[in-house]
Amino acid sequence: MGKRVAIVGTGQTHHRSIRRDVNGQELIHEAAVRALKDAELTIDDIGGVVIGNMDHFEGINYVDCWSIDGSGGYLKPTIKLTTGGTTGATLAVAGYHMVASGMFEKLLVIGWEKNSESDTTGAIITCTDPIIERQFVAGAISGLALEAQAYMHRYGATPRDAARVSVRDRRHACNNPHAQLRGEITIEDVLNSPRLADPLRLLDMCPRSDGACAVVFASEDVAEKICPTPAWVLATANRHMFSDYTDVVEMSSLLSMVEASKELWQKLGIREPLKEVDVIELYQPYSWAGLIWIEDMGLCKKGEGPKLLWDGVTDMGGELPINPSGGVVATNPIGATGLIRCAEIALQIQGKAGARQVSDVKLGVATGFGGNWWTDMLAFGKKKPN
C-alpha cells in the first residue's frame, strides 16, 4: 500500500486583477517561497515540482521547463499537468498520488495564472472542437448561463437566490487578506449589476486574477516532523466525463459532481455530508453553482439549495460554512484556483486561517471545476488516516 500523505505548508501570492510588479516566473516564485517558509523547509528539501496552468492564457509552451527559475525545479523532477479550470485541483490530486507512491517524500505543487496577459474568452473558446462546436460555444460565461437557465426552469430558483451566494462569498472575502475583491455587496448590487448573459450579471461571476498558489505535500515519514498539524489527504475522486459540449445531456445538474461526490463520500464512509463535513471550499465560478452544485454533492435534495443559503447554513458560523476564503467569485487565478481551495482547507485544518477560521475543523472538502463540466474533489482531515 501507498504512503499516507499530508499538506504541510501552503503559500499564496496577493491576488490582483493585474500584477504589473511581477512576471509569471516571479509570481510563481512568490508563492513557492511562501509555501517553503510556511513549512520551514528550503528548496533543497524538495524532491520534485508539479506545476500547472492553462497554456493559452499566457501563450507560453512547455511551462514546466519555462518556470524553473521561479519554481525551484532546477535539476529536479518537474512535471506539468493541465486540465482547464480543474487544473489546480488536478495538481493537488497528482501531488497526493506522487507522494503516496513513495517516489517523493516532499513535493512542491504549484498552480498559477497571469490572466491579465490573456484574452480569457478567446483562450477558452478554443477548447471546443474546431469544426463542429467552436462557432457556437462562446467561452465560459455563456455555458454557465445555460446551466443557470436550465436550473431556473426546472426548480423555480430566481436570480435573487443566486445573488445570495455572491453576497455570502464577498462578505467572507473581507476576512481573507489574499482575496482580490474585498468589499461587501448587497443582493440589490448583484441584481443591478450589468447583465452579461441572461440570467448572469457581473456580480454573479468570478473575476479573473493574476496569482499563484504553492503547496508542500509530504509523506507520513516526515509530515509530523515538519508540521504540528498536517492536513491529511483522506480521499480524492474526479470525473472528466464529456469530450464535447454537445455531449452534456443534463444542464440543471453537474453530473460530474454527482458521480465524483458519490465516490468521495463512499471512500470516506460519509452518509450525511451536511452534518459530517466541517467546511467546504467550492470551486464556484459563478453564484448559481453555489446553489446547484451543493445539491449535486448531496448536501440537500435537488431544488433545496436556495433554502440552505437563505437559512445561513453555509455562512460563517452556520452548520457547514462554504468558502470562508471568499471563494472563486472573489479571486480566480484559474490554474491556481483549485489548488487555493486545497490550501485554504489545509489552513482550516491547521487552525491557521486567521479571521476566516471556522471553529474545530476535522474534515474539509476542496473541489475543482473546469473543462467540459468536470469535477475534481479532495477530502482533507485533521486525524491521520488508518
Binding site: M54, N61, Y62, L75, C127
Partner: protein, 381 residues
C-alpha cells in the same frame, strides 16, 4: 517499490499525414489495440492518464478531446502536459500509491495540423528571445554546434545516426520514414539550420500510443509476458540556454542515475540490453548516449562508429528507428517505452535484437535542447 508491469500496448500507424482520422480517433485506435493486446476490456481499466499539449493541438484544455476515447467515462482521470514518458510516470505513481490496480496511459500528436515553428518558438521568453526566431530546430542547431565544437565531432559522424535509425525504421511497420541512405545522402540533404540538414532532423508525424500499467496481482492474468518497471526518474535543467552547458546533459545524467539506482544497475553499458531514446536530431543520439552513461563524455561518436549501437551491436539504440522513423511529438516518449517493452517481450518482429533482452531502457524529452528528460528501465523479471 511494489512491482508494476506493462501489460498492454498499442500504437497507430504513424504517417506524415493521417487525413482519414481526427486526433481523438487516432487515440481510440491506439487504445483499442492496447486493450486487445492486454486481453481485457475497458472495464479492466481502473483509471486513465492522457498526455497532450495545448500548443501542438491548437486547443486549450486539449485533454478534453481525448478523455472519452481513452475510456475515461465514469473513471478517475487526469492529464499530463508534455511528453508521454512523463504521462506514463504519473500513471505509474497512481498504481504505486495503492489507489488503483491498472492505469491506461495515452499520448498522441497530429503534427500535420500543427505549425512546429510557432509552437516551439512559444517555448522561448516572449520579450527577449522569441523575436530572435528561435524554435526547436534553430536552438538545437546551436546546441549541435556547441557539442560538436567542444568534442571535435564532424557532421559526417552525426550523420551516422540518420543512416542507422532510418535504416532500422525499414523494419518497423508503424514507422513512415524508413529509408536506406548513406552519410553522403545526409550531407547532400537540404541545409535547414547549420549544421542540421534535412536528414539530421526527425519528421513530425501523426500518431498515437497507449500503454496499460498494472499492479503485480493484476499483471498475471494476461496472455503474454508482463514487462516489469524496474526504475524510472526524470529531471529538468535550467531554462535559459545561456544558463546551461549545452554540450552536456546534466538533467539526463541525473534522471538516468536515479533510474539505474532504482533498478539496481551499476554499469549501464554492460547491463542494459537495448535502448529506445528520443533523438529528434542526429547529434542528440550521440549526446544522450553519453548522458545515459553508455560511454564517456564526448564518446558518443565513437560508440556509434564502433557499431555498438547498431541493431546487432552489444547495446542497440533505437532498433525501431527511433524518432527518425516516426515522431508523433507528444507521444514520442510513450512510444519509446512501448518499443522497449516489445523488445523485452521478444515480440518486436523484424526489429527484435539478437540477444535476449533482460533490461531495456526508454527515454522521453520535454522542452528545447533536452531541458527535461525522463528515463525508464524495463525488465523481463
Amino acid at each position: 517499490m511494489e512491482r508494476v508491469a506493462i501489460i498492454g500496448m498499442g500504437q497507430t500507424q504513424h504517417a506524415a499525414q493521417r487525413t482519414e482520422v481526427n486526433f481523438p480517433e487516432l487515440v481510440y485506435e491506439a487504445v483499442s489495440l492496447a486493450l486487445k493486446d492486454a486481453g481485457i476490456g475497458i472495464d479492466g481499466i481502473d483509471n486513465v492518464i492522457t498526455t497532450c499539449n495545448d500548443f501542438w493541438d491548437g486547443r486549450t484544455i486539449s485533454s478534453m478531446a481525448t478523455g472519452d476515447v481513452s475510456g475515461a467515462r465514469g473513471k478517475n482521470v487526469s492529464a499530463v502536459e508534455g511528453d508521454g514518458a512523463f504521462g506514463a510516470f504519473y500513471g505509474l505513481t497512481r498504481i504505486l500509491s495503492g489507489a488503483y490496480g491498472t492505469t491506461l496511459v495515452t499520448a498522441y500528436s497530429k503534427g500535420s495540423e500543427s505549425v512546429p515553428y510557432l509552437i516551439t518558438n512559444a517555448a522561448f521568453d516572449p520579450i527577449y528571445m522569441r523575436s530572435l526566431g528561435l524554435d526547436m530546430v534553430t536552438s538545437c542547431a546551436l546546441q549541435a554546434r556547441r557539442y560538436m565544437k567542444r568534442y571535435g565531432i564532424s557532421e559526417e559522424e552525426c550523420a551516422l545516426v540518420a543512416v542507422k535509425n532510418r535504416g532500422n525504421a525499414l523494419a518497423n511497420p508503424n514507422a513512415h520514414q524508413g529509408m536506406r541512405i548513406t552519410v553522403e545522402d545526409v550531407m547532400r540533404s537540404r541545409r535547414i539550420a547549420d549544421p542540421l540538414k534535412l536528414y539530421d532532423i526527425s519528421p513530425v508525424s501523426d500518431g498515437a500510443g497507449c500503454i496499460i500499467l498494472a499492479r503485480e496481482d493484476r499483471a498475471k492474468k494476461i496472455p503474454h509476458r508482463p514487462v516489469w518497471v524496474k526504475g524510472v526518474s526524470f529531471c529538468a535543467d535550467a531554462y535559459l540556454l545561456g544558463d546551461r552547458e549545452l554540450s552536456e546533459c546534466r538533467a539526463l545524467e541525473k534522471a538516468a542515475q536515479a533510474a539505474y539506482k532504482m533498478a539496481g544497475i551499476q554499469d549501464p553499458r554492460k547491463e542494459i540490453d537495448v535502448a529506445e531514446i528520443s533523438e529528434a536530431f542526429t547529434y542528440q543520439e550521440l549526446l544522450w548516449t553519453e548522458g545515459l552513461g553508455f560511454c564517456e563524455k564526448g564518446g558518443g561518436k565513437k560508440l556509434i562508429a564502433s557499431g555498438a549501437t547498431a541493431k546487432n551491436g552489444d547495446i542497440p539504440v533505437n532498433p525501431s528507428g527511433g524518432l527518425m522513423g516516426a515522431h508523433p511529438v507528444i507521444a514520442a516518449g510513450l512510444i519509446r517505452i512501448l518499443e522497449a517493452a516489445r523488445q523485452v517481450r521478444g515480440d518486436a518482429g523484424d526489429m527484435q535484437v539478437k540477444k535476449q533482452v533482460q533490461l531495456a531502457l526508454a527515454h522521453g524529452v520535454n522542452g528545447v535542447c533536452g531541458q527535461s528528460h525522463c528515463v525508464w528501465v524495463l525488465g523481463r523479471d
